[in-house]
């Protein structure tokens, strides 16, 4: 049996808070949230404990609930031992006992909501839909008189129990067009499944289940303020106002909710003031329910019989309450604070250019901070086939809600020796300051062979250095044949002559050869050049520079930038002679160049054209000639078309 007007259904012990503002306060609250909407990240555990202020104060565990988000699915279960209401009344009968005393017979009606379960699915960032089912028990205990016919006739009291348990199911959707506004539409008492056949004698005392629609609206006109309205088509409503502050590393909230119930008076039957604190790990809400009418007065049975109750925890017979609600947000899945928007590979990998990647990023990631506070992240990467572990890049601090470019650096191990290029992939990681992984991305990347060169002359240094052991053996072996010459000459000239001896021996069996056709930026290591007995300008300059450097002779590469697509490189050698000593090696001052060393002293450098595979003097002449023409006369150094690249 139901009545036309309905009582309020969407009552919350903690008041009504925006579902997006404070997650915990609405966790598993099927009263105002039949669609089970939640923005919980992983596990949630809620516990509500409180007291009721009738003629005597009683305390009870109102609710324990457990929630879990699995992908876009959200499931919650709750046990509500405190959601109960009991009525006691004299059923109008009494018996006269054998001792002539009279005993009244009572009835006790107990209504409970035992447990509930909810499911919702997040269709998109804006839409969510779900349902909830709640299980109610109704125990109607009526004492009656039972005559016992034995040797004597006497009367005893007998309790008769009627049960009328039922399931209630509701569905609903939530729509959040923006972070500041959300709407909800839910049913009230849509599905009712009776577990027991209802005894006609007690059907009128069933919980009234009038079908209605629940409309919810929540808005945040300013960041710290939240307005909420719940309206039931049975003309019941709830209005909640909440204010928030950032405090103690979390969110401090204060709220007040006023509610109107058709079956209670005055118009706003009561208020629910609440104060809350929450952070990422837990939340706590202290709330109270204050009714404006006196509940500790004799209540009319006939009114109860006429109107019954529709809501177990909020009805005309409910007492004032104080509730403490604790919620734990247990995120076994770490909450994402940052995420990749994109990763751009800046360069393919040239394995020989090892140190090049220590100070120049090979990739840039665009990373967004999802939180409202500064986040420090540790980026790292791992190139499959090159790195055995993650290579960490410098820590980056990202402002709240900001997007920044995060550089990724890497280290190429000296042991890498694959000569063929291949496609591999690189994993990019973003970790929090405490090393918890926040996000990751993967991109394909081209790893060149060890002879590959990016065309930048400055990077030829890596080919020069890599073969130092070989070059040193080779150079020392040559110079050992000139030991007597070197020992007898002036020490100042020793570098010049070492250079000369090395070059003359170096070029003996070499011929100039171009790169393989498909590998224009192919550079041979010194041992390869000598083994193959030839190379192009890159190979020969690298090889000769490596031989000199390996025995302590400072060199530089002269980068003649490409003109019409053809570039060139040769070698400058530091003789460590002073300008005054230059005449010891030449009377032609156009064959050398003066450069200041680190201490500011002038030193004589001579250019060597390594592709001139005849002898040292010819190579020097041609080198000096080209350098004079391109670098000096044509102002190549000033214009940038010629660059001197020091090996160290």
């Amino acid at each position: 049996m139901s009545i036309k007007i309905s009582a309020q259904s969407s009552f919350e012990l903690t008041g009504y808070w925006s579902p997006d503002f404070i997650n915990f306060s609405l966790m598993n609250s099927f009263e105002s949230n039949p669609s089970n909407y939640s923005n919980l990240k992983d596990w949630g555990l809620t516990l509500s404990y409180g007291g009721e202020f009738s003629s005597s104060a009683t305390s009870n565990l109102y609710l324990i609930s457990l929630s879990k988000k699995i992908g876009n699915n959200f499931v919650s279960l709750r046990y509500t031992p405190g959601y109960q209401k009991e009525f006691i009344f004299n059923n109008g009968q009494s018996i006269v006992l054998q001792d002539s005393t009279s005993q009244q017979l009572d009835s006790k009606f107990t209504y409970k909501e035992l447990f509930g379960l909810g499911y919702s699915y997040r269709i998109s960032n804006q839409f969510s839909a779900g349902f909830s089912f709640r299980y109610f028990t109704q125990d109607f205990n009526q004492e009656g008189v039972l005559p016992v016919f034995s040797d004597t006739l006497y009367l005893v009291r007998q309790s008769e129990d009627y049960k009328a348990n039922f399931w209630r199911g509701d569905i609903g959707i939530n729509y959040s067009p923006s972070e500041k506004i959300s709407f909800s539409l839910s049913s009230i008492n849509l599905i009712n499944i009776n577990e027991n056949s209802i005894d006609p004698n007690i059907s009128q005392y069933n919980i009234r289940r009038v079908k209605n629609i629940l409309l919810g609206f929540s808005a945040n006109p300013i960041d710290s303020f939240n307005f909420n309205l719940l309206f039931e088509t049975g003309n019941n409503l709830q209005i909640g106002l909440n204010e928030f502050l950032n405090a103690f590393g979390g969110n401090l909230g204060i709220g007040i909710t006023a509610f109107h119930d058709n079956f209670q008076s005055p118009y706003f039957a009561g208020i629910i003031p609440a104060i809350s604190y929450s952070n990422n790990l837990f939340g706590i809400v202290l709330s109270g329910v204050k009714y404006f009418s006196n509940r500790n007065i004799p209540q009319s049975f006939s009114l109860f019989q006429d109107q019954g109750i529709s809501n177990i925890i909020n009805n005309r017979y409910s007492f004032d309450k104080a509730i403490l609600t604790l919620t734990f947000n247990i995120n076994a899945i770490p909450e994402k604070t940052v995420e990749f928007q994109d990763v751009e590979i800046l360069n393919e990998i040239y394995p020989t250019l090892t140190e090049n990647y220590l100070d120049k990023p090979f990739a840039i990631g665009r990373v967004v901070n999802l939180t409202n506070h500064f986040v420090q992240i540790k980026p790292s990467s791992k190139i499959e086939g090159i790195n055995n572990g993650k290579i960490e890049s410098p820590v980056v601090s990202i402002p709240p809600k900001d997007t920044v470019k995060v550089p990724f650096y890497t280290i190429i191990p000296q042991s890498y020796d694959k000569q063929k290029a291949g496609i591999s992939y690189v994993d990019f990681y973003l970790a929090s300051a405490n090393q918890e992984l926040e996000d990751q991305a993967q991109k394909p990347i081209l790893i060149n062979g060890i002879n590959s060169w990016d065309g930048k002359v400055i990077n030829l240094r890596y080919f020069i250095k890599r073969d130092f052991d070989f070059s040193m053996d080779y150079a020392k072996n040559i110079l050992s044949h000139y030991k007597s010459d070197l020992d007898t000459m002036s020490y100042a000239l020793s570098i010049f002559y070492k250079t000369k001896f090395l070059f003359d021996n170096f070029v003996k069996n070499l011929v100039y050869t171009a790169n393989p056709r498909a590998e224009a930026d192919y550079v041979q290591f010194p041992h390869e050049t000598l083994k193959l007995k030839g190379g192009n300008c890159d190979d020969l300059s690298v090889c000769f520079s490596s031989l000199l450097e390996s025995v302590g002779i400072q060199t530089a590469l002269v980068d003649y930038k490409p003109v019409n697509g053809i570039g060139h490189v040769n070698v400058l050698v530091n003789t460590q002679l002073s300008p005054e000593q230059a005449k010891l090696i030449t009377q032609n001052d156009s064959k050398y160049f003066i450069r200041k060393n680190e201490s500011g002293a002038d030193e004589i450098w001579i250019p060597i054209e390594t592709t001139t595979l005849t002898n040292f003097n010819t190579a020097w002449d041609l080198g000096a000639q080209k350098f004079n023409e391109d670098a000096l006369n044509n102002l190549g150094i000033a214009k940038g078309s010629v660059a001197i690249v020091d090996i160290y």
Binding site: Q84, F89, V145, S302
Partner: protein, 310 residues
């Protein structure tokens, strides 16, 4: 972090345990019965404690005529009695006056007080009709055997005896006591409104579904009436008659309607009883207390309905 989660889980379980142990049920709301039209308050009392005893000394019989109660020195009883069986209603008027000698009690062998010797000093008139002097006979149980005895005489008057005594409902009956010496005592006894009962039985007692709905012409709802639920034995007495035992007295408001609690009728043993007797009693009771003596006056309208138990 895992340690932290484990700690939180443990904390929660411990907290839940503590909280569950410290819980008490929310206080119930006590409702006050304030709608007499929906459910009459009733008071049920066993009348015949021994349902196998065809002779009872409980102060009632199923005609509603009380064997005068013995707690008073002097008892006057006037009754208008109707009995309906098989749609035939017989009516009698009845008046009696009993004067006990409280110095001469009469007890069962077990020692239980069952009455006093009576005296009949002077004469008694009801509505100016002299009452007859008749033996005051009581039945009692003597170690399981039926016994009766005469404790003296009493004044009695029924319709047709010594004139046309008639119990006028909702009126009064004049009582006059004329002592052998001295002045007579004369006063009117008010009579209640006639009670007209109706019994609707439905269901079967063998299925425990027998329902007994009573209707009567309602009086003042603030006043009470008594309904005596009795039953007629299936076994014949030694004298060939069937006993009618009043089982329960149900006191309720005079609202005109009552559904007898189902258990009261469904638990009546079918093998022992085959008829129900519902007796509606609307009565006035007056009690006077004087120096060394008292007077109890009972004025009743009684309607008994006898039905087969379905």
């Amino acid at each position: 972090m895992k340690k932290l989660f484990r700690f939180i889980y443990c904390l929660c379980f411990v907290a839940c345990g503590i909280l569950l142990n410290s819980c008490n049920n929310p206080a119930p709301t006590e409702l006050v019965q304030d709608n007499p039209s929906i459910q009459n308050p009733i008071q049920v009392e066993v009348v015949t404690k021994d349902p196998t005893d065809e002779y009872y000394n409980n102060g009632f019989d199923t005609t509603g005529v009380a064997n005068p109660v013995i707690n008073y020195s002097n008892v006057i009883n006037v009754s208008g009695i109707k009995t309906t069986e098989n749609n035939v209603t017989t009516k009698i008027s009845f008046a009696q006056a009993i004067f006990y000698n409280r110095n001469m009690p009469f007890r069962e062998p077990s020692g239980r007080l069952i009455g006093y010797q009576t005296v009949t000093p002077g004469k008694v008139k009801f509505n100016n009709i002299f009452a007859m002097t008749v033996p005051y006979k009581i039945n009692y149980n003597n170690h399981g055997m039926h016994a009766d005895t005469i404790l003296g005489n009493m004044f009695a008057l029924t319709r047709g005896m010594m004139g046309q005594f008639n119990f006028d409902y909702n009126s009064s009956i004049n009582f006059q006591y004329i002592p052998m010496q001295g002045h007579s005592v004369n006063f009117d006894i008010p009579t209640p409104k006639e009670i007209i009962g109706k019994v609707i039985l439905s269901g079967k007692i063998k299925n425990k579904t027998l329902s007994c709905l009573l209707n009567w012409d309602k009086g003042n709802p603030s006043d009470s009436i008594e309904i005596i639920l009795g039953a007629v034995t299936t076994a014949q007495n030694s004298n060939g008659t069937y006993s009618t035992l009043p089982l329960y007295k149900i006191k309720t408001r005079d609202t005109g309607k009552l559904l007898i609690p189902a258990k009261l009728v469904n638990e009546i043993p079918q093998n022992k009883f085959n008829k129900l007797v519902l007796t509606f009693v609307r009565k006035y009771q007056i009690h006077f207390t004087g120096s060394g003596s008292d007077l109890f006056i009972l004025s009743q309208s009684i309607h008994s309905i006898i039905l087969d138990i379905p």
